[in-house]
């Protein structure tokens, strides 16, 4: 009894300091908008020659993957459910969008809507499965769905172009045919919107219910959270994000090949989420940068490292391992700990 009492009183000090005010936006949406505005200035640098033209492609690529990573973060970080099906759904989104925009000649909006809705319906099925299958089995089950999709991409030549892949042109918006720079701006706009929506979603009632589902299933149920409903919500959201990411991919890169949508892609998205930090929106973006942009933008341009085949990937692999070993809470965790004294003290007390 005494031991218990002791524990209770140790950190009972009056906690006068609320959340660290530093780095907290009074209106978080302002931060997102500013972030988006900053990103959308990049084509200017590119066209004025201050930045290599290919750099814009790499960054655009990162933005595309960031959308999928945000979806996986929603699933894994908030709902505590794991999926290795990200790549399959991205692929599905990209092929549907390409098929509708190119073969059926319909508008960008129609392609976008269908390419997000159809995979989301498939995602609902996985939500149903997740009630029966858990943990590592669920991860492999989602991989199973992804592999079924991948094999179908390879085989259904008439729709997907098979191994030769599928190509589309830049989207046409309101009668304007976009070019590379304006498509890039479109990516930025979509990503910013997705970040804002994600932010308000996770900080509202639905987000709290997802939190509860992860933190304590029994408490969630006792508080009236219908687990089936929220698993479906979590999976359909993650799938919708993946599919949206696939749509952006195909319209920005203008190609979709089966070989892109394999297990490794799903694993890299997962790596981006964990490295960036669970439940952190900016962290996810940073994680995506680490996984995709660091090897291509930084390591490949280093004097010696970049010249040897494969070395950038080795470095990036090691970087990922080191980040995980020394910052298990991800980069956002590091960031929070670096903030004025609060985090460190807490941690010591916890031990």
């Amino acid at each position: 009894m005494n031991g218990r009492n002791g524990r209770n009183e140790t950190n009972d000090s009056p906690l006068a300091n609320p959340k660290p005010a530093l780095w907290k936006w009074k209106n978080p949406y302002l931060g997102f908008v500013l972030f988006g505005l900053l990103l959308s200035t990049l084509p200017l640098f590119s066209s004025s020659g201050l930045m290599k033209s290919s750099t814009l492609n790499y960054i655009g690529n990162v933005l595309v993957y960031a959308v999928a990573a945000l979806g996986l973060n929603l699933l894994l970080g908030y709902a505590g459910l794991i999926s290795l099906g990200t790549a399959g759904f991205m692929g599905l989104g990209s092929y549907i969008a390409a098929y509708i925009a190119k073969d059926m000649g319909m508008s960008f909006w129609a392609a976008l809507t269908a390419a997000v809705l159809i995979p989301t319906l498939v995602g609902l099925l996985i939500g149903l499965i997740s009630l029966r299958i858990e943990g590592i089995y669920l991860a492999i089950a989602t991989l199973c769905v992804s592999e079924i999709l991948l094999k179908s991409f390879e085989q259904a030549d008439s729709i997907t172009g098979g191994m030769q892949g599928k190509s589309v042109s830049y989207p046409v918006l309101f009668g304007h045919a976009l070019n590379r720079s304006s498509t890039y701006v479109l990516l930025v706009v979509v990503l910013t919107l997705v970040m804002m929506l994600t932010h308000s979603l996770v900080n509202g009632q639905k987000g709290r219910a997802l939190h509860a589902m992860r933190g304590s299933e029994v408490a969630a149920q006792a508080m009236g959270v219908n687990l089936l409903q929220y698993r479906l919500i979590a999976f359909s959201l993650a799938t919708a994000y993946s599919a949206l990411s696939g749509v952006l991919y195909v319209f920005f890169i203008k190609f979709s090949y089966p070989s892109v949508w394999n297990l490794n892609l799903s694993l890299y998205v997962l790596a981006a989420v964990v490295i960036g930090g669970l439940r952190s929106i900016y962290g996810t973006i940073v994680g995506t940068l680490v996984v995709w942009a660091v090897p291509d933008l930084i390591l490949k341009n280093l004097p010696i490292v970049g010249k040897i085949n494969g070395l950038p990937y080795i470095f990036n692999g090691i970087l990922i391992i080191v980040v995980v070993m020394f910052a298990p809470q991800g980069i956002s965790g590091l960031w929070q700990r670096a903030l004025p004294f609060k985090g460190k003290k807490k941690e010591k007390e916890a031990e």
Binding site: R4, N5, N8, N11, P14, Q205, R214, G215, V218, A222
Partner: protein
């Protein structure tokens, strides 16, 4: 004090599908077994409105199992649980057995857990807001786009949650993450969370476990306050005999899932069967 319910519960053939006047909850001939072991065996008792009712028994007596059967975390093998709920402004009696777990709170029955089940990553305020989950009416789109209804609801329930936290005296910590808070505070957060649901009946599973003496004292008065301020019935399982004997109006004692006695605290203390059950435990 003669309890008319006792007679009913002792007669094995009687099953009423309503509650007697003044009853809030009646557990009737409840049985559940796990792998051949009867965890709860033909248990019956009734809780009156605005009563603070205790369920006691030696370790492994099946108290928490009873709670889990009432709140439908476990499906009882046999028996009924009748509960007076309010729908459309008027009282109605419903059999909880067979209801989905997540619908129980909507009927006005909320519970806490033996090991506090709060979400470490959320702030205290957000944890309490989970208690209002079922009262939010805004759709997922309204919430994602922060449309007026979603904002209004968020504002209203946030104020309510702050009130609940203030009621329990921990309003100053509302923005701190639950992870790292002392056990006593977390217990209060769980209590505040139950208050958000406008409960008819609150089930407390060992509310004093892990609390020190002064906190336990505190808890006793808090339980009274909750009952009076929120006008509800309280059913609790507790090991701390002083708390149970002090705070409860009536107590039901069970051992190995079987009914021993149900009476006012003084009578329970004197009851031979109850004494034997506890002594037996001490000898072993």
């Amino acid at each position: 004090m003669v309890d008319p319910l006792m007679d009913l519960s002792l007669d094995p053939e009687t099953t009423t599908h309503t509650l007697a006047k003044g009853e809030a909850l009646r557990v009737e001939r409840l049985s559940i077994s796990f792998g051949g072991l009867k965890a709860v065996d033909d248990l019956s008792f009734a809780v009156k409105k605005r009563e603070i009712f205790g369920l006691i028994g030696p370790n492994g007596a099946g108290k928490t199992t009873v709670f889990n059967c009432i709140t439908q975390f476990y499906r009882p093998d046999e028996g009924n649980v009748f509960f007076r709920t309010w729908k459309d402004g008027s009282d109605s009696v419903i059999n909880l057995v067979g209801q989905p777990v997540h619908s129980i709170i909507g009927l006005g029955l909320v519970r806490t857990f033996q090991n506090v089940e709060v979400i470490k990553e959320l702030s205290l305020l957000e944890n309490v807001l989970i208690g209002a989950h079922i009262d939010f009416k805004a759709t997922i789109f309204e919430q994602a786009f922060k449309l007026p209804r979603a904002r209004r609801e968020e504002r209203v329930f946030q104020r309510k949650a702050e009130e609940a936290l203030a009621f329990l005296g921990i309003a100053d910590r509302k923005d701190l993450p639950a992870g790292g808070q002392p056990y006593g505070v977390l217990k209060k957060v769980e209590l505040a969370r139950t208050l958000m649901a406008n409960p008819r009946l609150i089930i407390l599973d060992e509310p004093a476990a892990g609390l020190n003496d002064s906190e336990t004292q505190d808890l006793a008065s808090t339980i009274y306050q909750i009952r009076d301020a929120y006008n509800c019935t309280i059913l609790l399982v507790e090991h701390d005999m002083r708390l149970v004997m002090g705070v409860c109006d009536r107590i039901c004692a069970i051992s190995f899932g079987k009914f021993l006695a149900c009476d006012v605290p003084e009578e329970i203390k004197r009851n031979k069967l109850v004494q034997e059950a506890y002594l037996g435990e001490e000898e072993a």
